[in-house]
C-alpha cells in the first residue's frame, strides 16, 4: 500500500510539479491516470473505478476490518443527499485524494470530504421536465480520470466535471432524450478512453458500445451489438457486426434491441472489454425465429479497435425478457488441473456461467436460483441451454393465444443489475440473487401509445415462503453453492468482499451487513434508515480502513405490486452516504 502511495501519489505529483512549473499550469490538474485506474484493485488507498478495479471483482486486500473486528464497526459519518430528492440510490462511491465522489438519484454528483463528510461541491444536471424514465431516477456511479469526474444522465448525456470544482468540462449527448433515451450506468475508463453502453427508448434501440476521448468526449469507436449494423473507428467504417440476416428474419435486426444499459468490465491482460447485451425486440419470441445475435450475450471487444473478438449467448432466442447485461468478471482458477484465464457471469436467466475469457469457450453453467422453468441445464458440448419449450410464453396468435405460463426466474431475473463480487482469498463468487417467478400471458386487449397492442401480462410472485432475496456463495470451479444467506425482501444492492474474510452487502430493509466469506455467518449489521441498493466500497486512509455505502430505497422493484410488494411496502425513502470504521 505504501509503495503504491509513493508511486501513484508522490511520484506523479513530483512529475507534475515540474510540468506545472514549466507550463504555469495549476498543480490541481493532477489526478489518476489510466495506469492508476488499471491498478485500482491493488491500490488500497483509493477507489478509482466502478467495480474496484477494471475486472470489477469488488475485492479488497485490506484486512484491518476482519471476521474478528467487524463486530466493532461503527459509523464515522453520514452525509445527506437531501434536496427533496430521494428515491433509489444505486451508486458506488469513488475515493481519491481525501474526497469521496458519489452520484445520486436525479443525475446528481456530490463531492464529500473523506475524513469529515463535509460537502465540497454538488452538481445537479438540469434535466428537461418532459422526460419520464421507465424505471426510477437512479444512477450507478461515476468514473474518475485526471482532473475529471465523468457520469451519465437521465437525459442521455455524458458529462465530465472538474473534480475540484464540480464545473462542467465537456458534455455530450449519447442519445435523444426526446425519444425516451436515458443513461444510468457508470462509465469505464480504458486507456484514456471512456467506455459506455446505451439504453432503449420510444422507438426501440440497437445496443451499442462506444469509446470516447476522455479529454474531449469525442467519439473514437462505436460498435453496434446487433448483426447487420456497421461499426466505426475514427469516423471510418469498421466492419459489420456479425453476418446480415444470419439469425434474424426480414429487417427486424434494424430494431433488434440488445441495449447495453449496464456497462462493462475490462481485462488488461487480454485487452478485451466485456459487455453484456439486453433482450431482443419485439418481446414475443415467436415473431423473430432464430438466435437473434448478439442479444442476451456477453461480447468481448478489442479495446483499441472496437472489433468483437468473441461472443457467448446466454439466452439464445430469448422469450422471457432475460437481459444478458450482467457483468462478466475476469478471474483465474484451475479447472481439471489446468490453470485457466476465466470469466464468470450470473445471468438474469438463473444460470452462473464460467467461460474461457480469452476465446469465449464454454466451461460451465450452473443454476444459482431455486428454480429455472425455461431450461434444464446447459449442454456441455455445445454450451447451449436445454430449453423447455412448454416454458416459453405462447405465440400472439392461434391456439396458444391465451396460454398462461409460469416462468422462473421472473423477468426481473435471478440477478438483476446489482453486481456480484469475487474473492481472491476464498476463490468464491458472492451473488446477490432473487428467487421469484411470474405468470406471463398474452393480453387479449392491451394498449400502447393510445392504440390497441399485443402486450404481455404478468404477475411476479415469490416461490419460497420465507424469502425472495438470497446472497449466495458460488464455487466457480464446481458450480456448487457453498452457502446461502436468505433475505425476506428482494436483494437489489451490490456486493463487496475483502481479504479480511468478509462479504458486505445491503438489504432493502435498510441494513448494511457483513458475512463470514467462508461460512456465510452474519457477523455485523447496521440500520441505515432506508433501503440499501447501492454497492459498498472500502479503502484505507490515515492508517484506518473505511467502508462506505449509499442508502436510499428505490430502483425497479417498488414499481411492481402483488405478493412481492408485501416484503417492501413499508420501507421509507432516504438518501445518504454512510461511512464506517473501527473505533480508535
Amino acid at each position: 500500500m505504501k509503495g503504491s502511495f509513493i508511486r501513484t501519489g508522490f511520484a506523479a505529483t513530483a512529475a507534475l510539479a515540474v510540468a506545472a512549473l514549466a507550463l504555469g499550469a495549476p498543480l490541481k490538474a493532477a489526478g489518476p491516470t489510466s495506469e492508476d485506474i488499471k491498478n485500482d484493485a491493488t491500490s488500497t488507498g483509493d477507489v478509482l473505478s466502478y467495480g474496484m478495479g477494471p475486472k470489477a471483482q469488488r475485492f479488497s486486500p485490506l484486512t484491518q476490518i476482519n471476521t474478528e473486528t467487524v463486530s466493532r464497526l461503527v459509523p464515522a459519518f453520514a452525509a445527506s443527499l437531501g434536496d427533496e430528492k430521494q428515491r433509489g440510490q444505486e451508486s458506488q462511491p469513488i475515493v481519491y485524494d481525501g474526497t469521496i465522489y458519489v452520484t445520486a438519484s436525479y443525475s446528481r454528483v456530490f463531492a464529500f470530504d473523506a475524513r469529515t463528510g463535509e460537502k465540497k461541491w454538488q452538481y445537479t444536471a438540469r434535466l428537461p421536465d418532459g422526460i419520464m424514465p421507465c424505471c426510477d431516477v437512479v444512477n450507478r456511479g461515476a468514473a474518475i480520470h485526471g482532473d475529471k469526474i465523468i457520469f451519465m444522465t437521465l437525459d442521455a448525456h455524458i458529462i465530465a466535471l472538474n473534480r475540484h470544482t464540480g464545473k462542467v468540462i465537456w458534455n455530450k449527448a449519447v442519445g435523444d432524450y426526446q425519444a425516451g433515451y436515458s443513461a444510468t450506468a457508470a462509465p469505464m475508463i480504458v486507456k484514456d478512453m471512456v467506455i459506455t453502453g446505451n439504453s432503449g427508448g420510444e422507438f426501440g434501440i440497437v445496443g451499442a458500445v462506444q469509446a470516447r476521448n476522455v479529454d474531449t468526449g469525442e467519439l473514437i469507436w462505436d460498435r453496434p451489438v446487433i448483426e447487420g449494423h456497421m461499426g466505426t473507428l475514427k469516423g471510418q467504417p469498421n466492419g459489420m457486426t456479425g453476418k446480415l440476416n444470419a439469425t434474424w428474419q426480414g429487417d427486424l435486426w434494424k430494431t433488434g434491441g440488445g441495449a447495453t444499459w449496464l456497462g462493462g468490465t475490462y481485462d488488461p491482460e487480454t485487452n478485451l472489454i466485456y459487455m453484456g447485451t439486453g433482450n431482443p425486440a419485439p418481446w414475443n419470441s415467436h415473431l423473430r425465429p432464430g438466435d437473434n445475435l448478439y442479444t442476451a450475450s456477453t461480447l468481448a471487444i478489442d479495446a483499441d479497435t472496437g472489433v468483437i473478438k468473441w461472443h457467448y449467448q446466454t439466452t439464445p432466442h430469448d422469450g422471457w425478457d432475460f437481459d444478458g447485461v450482467n457483468e462478466f468478471i475476469p478471474f483465474d482458477a484451475t479447472i481439471n488441473g489446468k490453470p485457466m484465464k476465466l470469466g464468470a457471469k450470473a445471468d438474469r436467466n438463473g444460470y452462473f456461467f464460467v467461460l474461457d475469457r480469452t476465446n469465449g469457450k464454454f466451461v460451465s453453467a450452473n443454476k444459482f436460483v431455486m428454480q429455472t422453468t425455461w431450461a434444464n441445464g446447459y449442454n456441455q458440448k455445445t454450451g447451449r441451454p436445454n430449453v423447455i419449450e412448454e416454458g416459453r410464453p405462447g405465440a400472439p396468435l392461434g391456439a396458444e393465444k391465451g396460454k398462461m405460463v409460469f416462468s422462473s426466474p421472473s423477468f426481473l431475473g435471478g440477478k438483476n443489475w446489482m453486481p456480484m463480487a469475487y474473492s481472491q482469498q476464498t476463490g468464491l463468487f458472492y451473488v446477490p440473487s432473487n428467487d421469484w417467478g411470474m405468470d406471463i400471458w398474452n393480453e387479449p386487449i392491451a394498449y400502447k401509445k393510445g392504440a390497441a397492442y399485443l402486450g404481455a401480462g404478468f404477475t411476479i410472485k415469490p416461490i419460497a415462503p420465507d424469502h425472495i432475496g438470497v446472497l449466495r456463495a458460488m464455487d466457480p470451479t464446481t458450480g456448487k453453492i457453498v452457502w446461502e444467506a436468505p433475505n425476506k425482501a428482494p436483494l437489489w444492492g451490490g456486493v463487496m468482499t475483502t481479504a479480511g474474510g468478509l462479504v458486505f452487502t445491503g438489504t432493502p430493509e435498510g441494513y448494511l451487513k457483513a458475512f463470514d466469506a467462508k461460512t456465510g455467518k452474519e457477523l455485523w449489521k447496521f440500520q441505515t434508515g432506508s433501503g440499501v441498493v447501492g454497492s459498498p466500497i472500502t479503502w484505507e486512509q490515515d492508517g484506518e480502513q473505511y467502508v462506505a455505502v449509499m442508502s436510499g430505497w428505490g430502483g425497479a422493484v417498488p414499481l411492481w405490486g402483488g405478493e412481492v410488494a408485501k416484503t417492501f411496502k413499508e420501507i421509507s425513502q432516504g438518501g445518504a452516504l454512510w461511512v464506517f470504521k473501527l473505533p480508535r
Binding site: C134, A179, G180, L252, L287, P396, L397, G450, A452, L454
Partner: protein, 284 residues
C-alpha cells in the same frame, strides 16, 4: 360555436357542486378559477398529435383547442413521450406527474375507452369517447391486388410500424410467410407515407394513419383497401380522454361540449381537416 348553452351547463354544474361537499374541490371549479386547461397529447402520433417546426398539430390538438375555447379557458397543451404501456402514461400524465418535474395534466387525450383499462387504473376516470379507431390497409395500385387476402402479398414490399398491431398481424399471421417482406417504421403514418415515397407496396396501419397519410400523399395510385382484413386481431376501439379520478366534474363538462360538437358537426369537421372520416364511438 355556441358558447352560451355550455356556459349555462357549466353554471348548472357549479351550482350543483355547492350541494355536494366532495365535488367542491373538483377540478372543474379549480380549472375555472385558474382559467387554464392543461392537456397532454402524445408525441410522434400523427395525425392525432405531432410537432412540426415547433408547432403542435393534429386532431387531438384541435379537439383540445375546441374543449378549452368552449369552456372559456386558455389552453396549455403539452406533448409527452409514450411509455411502455398506457398505465405508465396515465400515471405520468394524469394522476401523479413525472418524477422530473413534468406537471400532471387536467386532461390526457387519446385514451382507449375500455373497461379493462379503467379497472386497471382506478386513479383516473376514462370518459368522453370521441371516435372509433381500428386497423386498415392501403396499397399502391398496380403492384398487388389490394382486395385479395394479404397472404397473396408474399414477396411484395409491405410496411408497418414496429410492434404495432399492423406489424404483428403481418408478422404472426399467415403462418409467418410475410415476415421477410415487411419494412418497419417508427410510426404508422411513416409506414403509410412509404407508399407515396415508392418504398412500399402495401401497408397495415390504423384507420386515421391510413386516411391522413393518403390525403397528404395526394397520389391517385394509392388507395385504401375496401374489404375488411381477414382475421384482424383487433376489432377496433373507442378513443376518449382521461382525467383524475376526483375530476369527473371536468370530464362531464367535456362530455357536454363534445355532445354539442357531434350535433353541430364541429367534431367531424376537425377530423375531415386532417383527411380522416370521423367514426362515431360505439359507446356513444
Amino acid at each position: 360555436m355556441r358558447p352560451a348553452p355550455n356556459r349555462r351547463q357549466l353554471l348548472g354544474g357549479l351550482i350543483a357542486s355547492l350541494f355536494a361537499p366532495h365535488a367542491m374541490a373538483a377540478p372543474l371549479a379549480k380549472v375555472r378559477e385558474l382559467g387554464v386547461l392543461r392537456v397532454g397529447v402524445y408525441k410522434h402520433n400523427r395525425p392525432w398529435s405531432w410537432s412540426e417546426d415547433g408547432v403542435l398539430k393534429g386532431i387531438d390538438v384541435d379537439l383540445a383547442k375546441a374543449f378549452a375555447t368552449k369552456l372559456g379557458l386558455r389552453l396549455d397543451i403539452v406533448e409527452f413521450t409514450a411509455g411502455e404501456n398506457l398505465s405508465d402514461d396515465l400515471r405520468n400524465v394524469v394522476w401523479r406527474g413525472g418524477l422530473l418535474g413534468f406537471q400532471r395534466c387536467d386532461v390526457m387525450m387519446h385514451v382507449p375507452f375500455e373497461r379493462k383499462l379503467q379497472q386497471d387504473n382506478d386513479n383516473v376516470a376514462i370518459a368522453a369517447p370521441y371516435c372509433r379507431e381500428g386497423f386498415a390497409a392501403a396499397c399502391v395500385e398496380g403492384t398487388l391486388d389490394c382486395e385479395a387476402p394479404p397472404v397473396s402479398w408474399r414477396g411484395k414490399r409491405l410496411a408497418a410500424s414496429t410492434t404495432s398491431i399492423g406489424d404483428f398481424y403481418l408478422m404472426a399471421g399467415f403462418g409467418g410467410i410475410l415476415r421477410n417482406s415487411i419494412a418497419h417504421f417508427n410510426t404508422g403514418y411513416e409506414a403509410v407515407a412509404a407508399l407515396g415515397e415508392g418504398k412500399a407496396d402495401a401497408v397495415v396501419a390504423s384507420n386515421a394513419e391510413v386516411e391522413a397519410g393518403l390525403k397528404d400523399m395526394n397520389n391517385p395510385k394509392l388507395r385504401r383497401r375496401k374489404a375488411p382484413l381477414p382475421a384482424m386481431i383487433s376489432e377496433g376501439w373507442d378513443v376518449g380522454i382521461a382525467v383524475r379520478e376526483d375530476s369527473r366534474s371536468l370530464s362531464d363538462a367535456i362530455e357536454r361540449v363534445l355532445a354539442a360538437m357531434v350535433k353541430d358537426g364541429a367534431l367531424a369537421k376537425i377530423f375531415l381537416a386532417h383527411g380522416v372520416a370521423w367514426q362515431a364511438p360505439l359507446a356513444g
